[in-house]
C-alpha cells in the first residue's frame, strides 16, 4: 500500500484548518456541498478560538501525477504549548510534517518548538508558506526565515494559499514524494500507538491508533500496556472523515479502535496496544499527563456544587489531562482543586464549565506545584497554598522553572527584557532569525508565567511576540505564603505562595482592593496581609455610621418594608468570614487576575 502519514504544524491562525479543508476537498474526501469550513475542528470553542484542542485524523485518497492512488493520513495536532505532549504523540504517529507559516507573520515560537519536536522524532519536514494571496504577505521573507531555521535552501519552500487553493497540487505531490512510506513489518507482533482518544456517549472511548508493527483485526483481544487491561477490539475502522468500519488495520495504517471501555482514563494517550497473546516491547515515549497549573474552582452559588461535580466528570470523559479533587474553602465553600496542563487548558476548562454547563464559577488564583523540603529531610509536593507547612518546619522550597522561547520583532527586545526581568527570568540565549526578528530563550519560574505573562507580552509587543515553553527543572526559591486576614481571620481563598520580594506588593494590592470591595459593617473591619504572624499591610473598612431610612410615615410602610426585604436578600448572598459579611462579588473581583502584577 502507498501510505503517507503526516501532520501539519502551524501557529494559531496560520491557516492549518483551512489547509486541511482544502486537502479534504481536493482529494474528494468531502464534497463541496458537505464542506463546512474547518471540518476538523469540531468543538465550538475550537472554532471560535481558531485552535485545535483535540487532535483528530482523516484518511484521504489521492491519485498522484504518477497515476497511482495514495492513502494520505492527515493527523491533526493541537497548536498550543499546553498540549505539547499530545503534539509529540501525534508526531510519533507520522513520518512527515508540513510546517506551515503565515507569509505575513513569519515563523512563530510555537511553530519552531513543534518543528524541533518533529525533527527530533525523525520526521521529514515539508516547509510551506501560506496566505501568499494576502496584501501584507511577504513570502520571500517568510521563506528565508524558514530556510534559515531549518538549514535548507529557500527554493525548497512551497508557497500556497489554502484559502484560494493555489499551490495545493504541488504540496500533495511533495507529500507523496518526500514523506517516507511507513516501514512494512506485517509479521511482527502488533504494536499500535494510541495518539488520541475521545469519549462517545454511545460507543464509549474511541481510540485513534497508528499501527506501527503487525496488524489489528476486528475481534482481536488487545492489551493496553500502560494499564495492563485486556479488551476485545469490538470495532476497527478509518475516518474518511466519517467513521468507516474495516476488517483490519495493517502496518503503517491509521484508524480508530473501539473496545467498549467507558472510562477515558483507562485509555492513555501515548500507550501501546498489543495482542494479549503476543506481547512485545512497548513503543517508547509514554508519559502520564502532568498538571502544571492548579486552581480552585468553586460554584458562585453553593447550591451548584453537585452540578459542578457532574460537569467535571463529563469533561474528564474527553480530557484525561484534567485532574481534580474536592477542596473546601472557608470563604468559598465546597469546590474542587483542579490541575491543568497549562493556562490555556485552564481557561478552556473554565469556559466550557461556564458555557456548556451554565455554571457561575469563582476561581482562585492559579498556582504551581512547589517542592517543599522539610527540616526532617522529607519532601512534599504542595499544590495549594493552604497545604504549605508552617515556616519553621520548612528547610527550603523549590519551584518549577520553564525554558521559554519568545520570537518577536527586534524593536521589542527592550520591553521584553524588561518584562522578563520583573518576572525573575534569566536570559539564556538570543539570536536573530532575520535582521528584523529575534529569538530569545529564557529560564523563567512557572509561577511568574501563570499570571498574565502572555497577555503582558502580547500587549507590550502589540501582539507580535509569540511564546513557547517547556518544563525545565526545579530551583530553590525564597518563597513565602501571604495570608489575607479579615478581622483577624485568614481568608483561605486569598492565600498565595509568592517570592519574598513580591510579597509586600501582593499583600498591599489585595488589602487595598478588598477595602474597596467589602461593605461597611457594624464594626471596624481590619484587612491585613501577613507572612506568618508578621503583618505586612493593613487597611480598615470603617464601621457604618448611618444606615437608616429617614422617613417612614403612613404612606411609606409597605414600600420601606419591601426596600429592606430586598436589601436583606442581598445580605443573604453574602458569605460570612468570621463576623464579616463579604459579598460574593468581592471574592470574584479580588481574585480577578490583573495586569499590574
Amino acid at each position: 500500500m502507498n501510505i503517507r502519514n503526516f501532520s501539519i504544524i502551524a501557529h494559531i491562525d496560520h491557516g492549518k484548518s483551512t489547509l486541511a479543508d482544502r486537502l479534504l476537498e481536493r482529494t474528494g474526501a468531502i464534497s463541496a456541498r458537505e464542506m463546512r469550513e474547518q471540518v476538523l475542528d469540531t468543538m465550538d470553542l475550537e472554532r471560535e478560538r481558531g485552535i485545535t484542542i483535540k487532535a483528530q485524523s482523516v484518511r484521504l485518497i489521492y491519485r498522484a501525477v504518477d497515476g497511482q492512488d495514495y492513502i494520505l493520513n492527515l493527523i491533526d495536532t493541537p497548536g498550543h504549548v499546553d498540549f505539547s505532549y499530545e503534539v509529540s504523540r501525534s508526531l510519533a504517529a507520522c513520518e512527515g510534517a508540513v510546517l506551515l507559516v503565515d507569509a505575513a507573520q513569519g515563523v512563530q515560537a510555537q511553530t519552531l518548538a513543534n518543528a524541533f519536536l518533529a525533527l527530533e522524532a525523525g520526521l521529514e519536514i515539508i516547509p510551506v508558506v501560506n496566505k501568499i494571496d494576502l496584501p501584507a504577505a511577504e513570502p520571500d521573507k517568510a521563506a528565508a526565515e524558514l530556510a534559515s531555521v531549518l538549514g535548507i535552501h529557500p527554493d525548497e519552500v512551497i508557497r500556497i494559499s489554502a484559502k484560494t487553493g493555489g499551490g495545493i497540487e504541488e504540496l500533495l505531490e511533495r507529500i507523496v514524494r518526500d514523506v517516507p512510506t511507513p516501514p512494512q513489518r506485517p509479521d511482527q507482533p502488533l504494536r499500535a500507538l494510541v495518539f488520541d482518544s475521545y469519549y462517545d456517549a454511545y460507543r464509549g472511548v474511541v481510540c485513534y491508533v497508528r499501527v506501527v508493527d503487525g496488524s489489528l483485526h476486528d475481534g482481536d483481544t488487545v492489551l493496553f500496556t500502560a494499564t495492563s487491561e485486556k479488551h476485545e477490539a469490538s470495532e476497527v475502522g478509518v475516518l474518511t472523515p466519517r467513521a468507516v468500519r474495516v476488517p483490519a488495520l495493517g502496518t503503517g495504517e491509521v484508524g480508530y479502535l473501539i473496545t467498549g471501555v467507558k472510562e477515558i482514563d483507562r485509555i492513555r494517550v501515548g500507550d501501546t496496544v498489543m495482542h494479549a497473546a503476543r506481547i512485545a516491547e512497548p513503543l517508547p515515549g509514554y508519559q502520564d499527563p502532568k498538571s502544571m497549573v492548579y486552581s480552585g474552582l468553586f460554584p458562585a452559588d453553593g447550591e451548584d456544587f453537585e452540578r459542578l461535580r457532574e460537569a467535571l466528570e463529563k469533561l474528564r470523559l474527553n480530557d484525561s489531562a484534567l485532574v481534580y479533587e474536592p477542596e473546601t474553602s472557608r470563604a468559598l465553600g465546597f469546590g474542587f482543586r483542579c490541575g491543568f496542563l497549562g493556562l490555556l487548558h485552564m481557561e478552556i476548562i473554565r469556559e466550557r464549565l461556564e458555557r456548556e454547563y451554565d455554571l457561575d464559577l469563582v476561581a482562585t488564583a492559579p498556582s504551581v506545584a512547589y517542592q517543599v523540603t522539610l527540616t526532617d529531610g522529607s519532601v512534599q509536593e504542595i499544590r495549594s497554598p493552604q497545604d504549605l507547612p508552617d515556616a519553621d518546619r520548612i528547610d527550603h522550597m523549590d519551584e518549577p522553572f520553564l525554558k521559554a522561547m519568545i520570537i518577536a520583532p527586534s524593536e521589542y527586545v527592550g520591553t521584553i527584557m524588561e518584562l522578563v526581568q520583573t518576572r525573575r527570568g534569566m536570559m539564556e540565549h538570543m539570536q536573530y532569525l532575520s535582521p528584523e526578528r529575534v529569538e530569545l530563550i529564557y529560564h523563567l519560574p512557572l509561577a511568574e508565567v501563570v499570571f498574565d505573562f502572555f497577555d503582558n507580552l502580547k500587549s507590550r509587543t502589540r501582539g507580535y511576540a509569540s511564546l513557547d515553553y517547556e518544563p525545565l527543572d526545579y530551583r530553590v526559591a525564597d518563597l513565602v505564603r501571604v495570608d489575607i486576614l479579615l478581622n483577624g481571620q485568614p481568608v483561605d481563598a486569598f492565600s498565595t505562595v509568592i517570592h519574598r520580594d513580591k510579597a509586600y506588593q501582593y499583600g498591599k494590592r489585595m488589602v487595598e482592593r478588598l477595602r474597596k470591595l467589602i461593605p461597611r459593617q457594624l464594626f471596624d473591619v481590619p484587612i491585613q496581609a501577613a507572612i506568618g504572624s508578621r503583618i505586612i499591610s493593613r487597611e480598615t473598612v470603617k464601621a457604618t455610621r448611618k444606615d437608616v431610612i429617614a422617613k417612614c410615615y403612613g404612606g411609606d410602610v409597605s414600600r420601606k418594608r419591601k426596600l429592606l426585604e430586598r436589601q436583606k436578600e442581598g445580605k443573604k448572598r453574602m458569605k460570612m468570614v468570621g463576623q464579616v459579611e463579604v459579598p460574593q462579588e468581592a471574592f470574584i473581583s479580588a481574585l480577578q487576575t490583573d495586569t499590574d502584577r
Partner: protein, 389 residues
C-alpha cells in the same frame, strides 16, 4: 391640649397610639418640583383644584363608616396652595362622616412662602390647630440646591405668624446632609430653627430616592450625600435639640411634651388610618391599601364612579409581627418585645446587633440604641423565620 399628652417618647403614649384612628388627606399641588421629592405631586395643575376637592369629597363620602378620628393630617404636595375654605370643607366632611374625637389633632403641611396672617386665621377657622412648615434650611445656598423658592426670613416669619395667630402646635422640617452643606451651615440652620422655639422638629437626612431629578443627577456624576457627613450632622442635632429641651422620640423627630405628632404616632404603633387623594396609603382592618398615584387617573376613576384604589396588601400574622417591630423600633420608646422581639433577641443577627450596642432591652422594651443604624435592625427583623428562636 392634645390627645398625645405627656412626653413624646413615653412607652405609654407609644402603645396607646395603636388604638387611635386617623385620616390622611393628600394635596398633590406644588408650585414647582423639588429635585429630591418622590411624593405624588403635580405642578401647573392649580386650575384643577376645585375638581380635585370635589373628587376628595366623593372619595370620603364613599368610604365605609368608621370610628371617630383622633387625627386628621393634610399633607402633600403643598396643602397651603388650597384656600382655607377648600381645606375646611374637607375637614368638615371628615368630621361629619366619621366624627372627631375630643382633642383630635388636625394638622396640615405648609410652605413658608404661602403663609401669612390671613391664611393662618382662615385655617384656624377651618379647624386646623397644628401646622408643619417645610423650612428645610436657613442657608440660602442649601435652599437653592434643594430647589426651594422661599428665603430663610420667610420661614422664620411663618413660624411667628402661626404662633401669633394661635396655632397650638408648630413643626419645622429641616433637611441635612445636602452635598455642599457645611457643618457650620447646618449648625446655623439648626440654631435658627431652635431659636424659633418650635413645638416639634423633624430633621431628615437628604435621601436619593429612585426616579427623582436628584437620583438622575447623582447617576450622571453629581455629588451624592455623604453618609458620614450626615451622621455628623445628625449627632450635632441630637446634642443641640437636647439642649433646647426637645425630646427625641423617633429616628427623625423631636418634640416638646404634649406635642408628639398624633398621626405619625399612630403609624409607628401600627395603628390604623384612612387615606384620601392621589397615591394615598390607608391601613384599615389589617389591610394596607394604596390609591392610584397619577393625578388624572385618580380624577377619572373617582368621576367615573370607580374606586381609586390600585393595590392592597394583607400580611399574615407573622409578617404583621415583623412589621410591628420594623416600624415600632423607629421610636425611642421601642416596642413590647412580643413573639417577634423574643425571636430577634435569640437570633444570630439579634446577638450581633446587641454586641454592637445597636439593640437592647430598656425597661423590658426592645429598643434601638443607635437610631442611625436602624435599618440593620429592620433587615434582621425581616430575616426572622416564624417560630425562630
Amino acid at each position: 391640649m392634645s390627645i398625645a399628652s405627656g412626653r413624646p417618647d413615653s412607652a405609654d403614649l407609644a402603645d396607646r397610639a395603636r388604638h387611635w384612628a386617623a385620616a390622611y388627606v393628600h394635596i398633590p399641588f406644588c408650585a414647582r418640583l423639588c429635585p429630591y421629592c418622590d411624593f405624588a405631586v403635580v405642578t401647573g395643575r392649580d386650575g384643577s383644584v376645585p375638581r380635585y376637592v370635589t373628587a376628595l369629597r366623593k372619595e370620603i363620602a364613599g368610604e365605609p363608616d368608621w370610628r371617630p378620628l383622633d387625627a386628621i393630617y393634610v399633607g402633600g404636595g403643598t396643602p397651603s396652595r388650597l384656600t382655607p375654605e377648600q381645606l375646611g370643607v374637607i375637614v368638615d366632611d371628615l368630621g361629619k362622616k366619621f366624627g372627631l374625637a375630643d382633642q383630635a389633632e388636625v394638622s396640615l403641611e405648609a410652605n413658608p412662602e404661602d403663609w401669612d396672617f390671613t391664611l393662618a386665621e382662615g385655617l384656624l377657622g377651618a379647624g386646623f390647630e397644628r401646622v408643619s412648615f417645610g423650612a428645610q434650611s436657613f442657608d440660602p445656598a442649601v435652599l437653592g440646591s434643594l430647589g426651594r423658592v422661599h428665603n430663610p426670613g420667610q420661614a422664620a416669619s411663618a413660624v411667628s405668624v402661626a404662633r401669633r395667630a394661635g396655632f397650638r402646635s408648630v413643626n419645622i422640617d429641616l433637611i441635612f446632609g445636602t452635598p455642599g452643606e457645611t457643618e457650620a451651615s447646618w449648625r446655623a440652620s439648626l440654631d435658627r430653627a431652635l431659636a424659633l422655639e418650635p413645638d416639634h422638629l423633624s430633621l431628615y437626612a437628604l435621601t436619593v430616592e429612585r426616579g427623582t431629578e436628584l437620583s438622575r443627577a447623582v447617576a450622571a456624576g453629581a455629588a451624592a450625600p455623604d453618609p458620614d457627613a450626615q451622621a455628623d450632622a445628625y449627632e450635632a442635632a441630637e446634642t443641640a435639640c437636647r439642649a433646647a429641651g426637645l425630646i427625641h422620640y423617633e429616628v427623625s423627630n423631636w418634640a416638646r411634651p404634649d406635642h408628639g405628632c398624633v398621626y405619625n404616632l399612630i403609624t409607628w404603633a401600627q395603628g390604623e388610618y384612612l387615606a384620601f387623594g392621589t397615591g394615598a396609603h390607608s391601613h384599615r382592618d389589617g389591610v394596607r391599601r394604596r390609591n392610584v398615584r397619577r393625578f388624572d387617573a385618580y380624577l377619572e376613576r373617582i368621576e367615573g364612579g370607580q374606586s381609586p384604589q390600585q393595590g392592597e396588601e394583607a400580611l399574615d400574622p407573622w409578617e404583621r409581627e415583623q412589621e410591628r417591630l420594623m416600624i415600632g423600633l423607629r421610636r425611642t420608646a421601642g416596642v413590647v418585645p412580643g413573639q417577634g422581639g423574643e425571636a430577634l433577641l435569640g437570633s444570630t443577627w439579634g446577638n450581633r446587633l446587641q454586641e454592637a450596642g445597636v439593640l437592647g432591652l430598656v425597661g423590658g422594651r426592645l429598643t434601638v440604641l443607635k437610631p442611625l443604624l436602624g435599618d440593620e435592625v429592620g433587615r434582621a427583623v425581616l430575616a426572622l423565620q416564624p417560630g425562630e428562636r
